[in-house]
């Protein structure tokens, strides 16, 4: 499915589907497809939120090596 969506787009899409769903605008025959898409959007956001471990990138810093300070 749309795995290349950013979580921002996914979150917006989710809100849109939900507001349509809540206002009863979605026809019954489209319900299943919309619900499936909504769950995909949730999954995209959840995947973005967590990953196996936090990444710490290498230091890029410049300048003289200072004394360890507080």
């Amino acid at each position: 499915m749309k795995k290349d969506l950013t979580y921002n787009e996914a979150f917006e899409k989710l809100q849109k589907i939900l507001s349509e769903l809540e206002s009863g605008k979605i026809a019954l025959d489209k319900l299943a497809a919309n619900v499936k898409e909504a769950y995909t959007m949730i999954a995209i956001c959840e995947n973005k939120m967590r990953s196996i471990e936090a990444a710490v990138k290498t230091a890029i810093g410049s300048g003289p090596a200072p004394p360890p300070n507080a």
């Binding site: 979580y7 921002n8 979150f11 989710l14 809100q15 589907i17 939900l18 769903l21 809540e22 009863g24 979605i26 019954l28 319900l31 619900v35 909504a38 769950y39 949730i42 956001c45 959840e46 973005k48 939120m49 967590r50 990953s51 936090a54 990444a55 710490v56 990138k57 290498t58 230091a59 890029i60 810093g61 410049s62 300048g63 003289p64 090596a65 200072p66 360890p68 300070n69 507080a70």
Partner: protein, 385 residues
Amino acid sequence: MEQTIRLSALADRIKETLEERFERETFWVSARIMNVKKYIANRRCYLTLEEYENGTKLAEIRAVFWSGAYEEIEKFENAVGQSFRDGTEIICLVRVRFHILYGLNLDVLQIDVAHTLGTLELERQQTLNRLLRENPDSIKRIDGVYRTANQGLPLPLLIQRIALITAPHSDGLRDFQQEIINNRHQYHFEITEFLTTIQGENAHNLILEQLQQIALSASSFDVVAIVRGGGSLADFRPFNQYELAQRVAHFPLPIFTGIGHDRNQSITDMMAREQKTPTKVASLFIDHNFEFENRLIDLRLRLENSISRQLDRARESLESARRLVKLASPKAILDRGFAIITLNNKIIIDPQEINNKDEIKTLLKDQIIHSTITKKTIDEKRFDL
């Protein structure tokens, strides 16, 4: 040749003269401190007191804090929030001393901390006024609080890509990382470290350089965090520099500061989103993402509710349709006592189609009545059924 005198004898005479003149007197002197050398272990500090006018040195005398007066330095550092260092203008109480080995010295007895505080506050106010004056679009003062363009930048839904400016091997770096890595929600973060000295004369320029680096790849980051551990004396002078504060106020990414001083707020803090400590900055990021997760959970609940409501509604309308269809069926109508009349197997709706002597069939609930028409009349009260 005139009579010679031994150096020590001369020194003695100078000493006696000076003592006679100065021994019982002390002076409040305003001067700039230079060549400060602190010996913390034996609580002594050697320095020179100097006076300048338009960049020219007018006077210089060596001075010393003996262990009895050393606590004056500590009081100064605690109250002023910066270290007792070269270049600071102070007012101090001194006594003139002459030592036959070491020459002229001023013993410092006391520092006028209030004076230095006043000077710093004045400088600080001047910097703030200049920030307002020179950046009217991006720095405003509303109800006594400074509001900057940087503070107005929206935060992304999730804060994950952090550009971290801090000192290498520092407590601030360690505290920040600990909090992020051990976050109990196991949120994902990417920290890119921009390491530099964060204290001292040139610190503000070094921090500016790091901000410049970050600005070059601004789209790779969600936020900037500038952190420094608390605990020991925190010199916040770099963070009161106009150039740094101004850059922060305009910076294209939201900046969070945790530069660890409880009592004092630096000007840079006022231009950014201030959090006091590195740990607090990190936990704010975690809380921010937690809030997003809560919104997501809320949406998921609403989704589930909405689906079940939708299905309930569909079931209900199906049920009422079925009832309607059932009521409208001919069988149901006959069951309720109505009849259907046919002539030549055609249902008669218009009585004009029936004439005398016609043989008609009347369909009732479960029987058919065969009859022959003998008479037709108009029903005057046909609506009184």
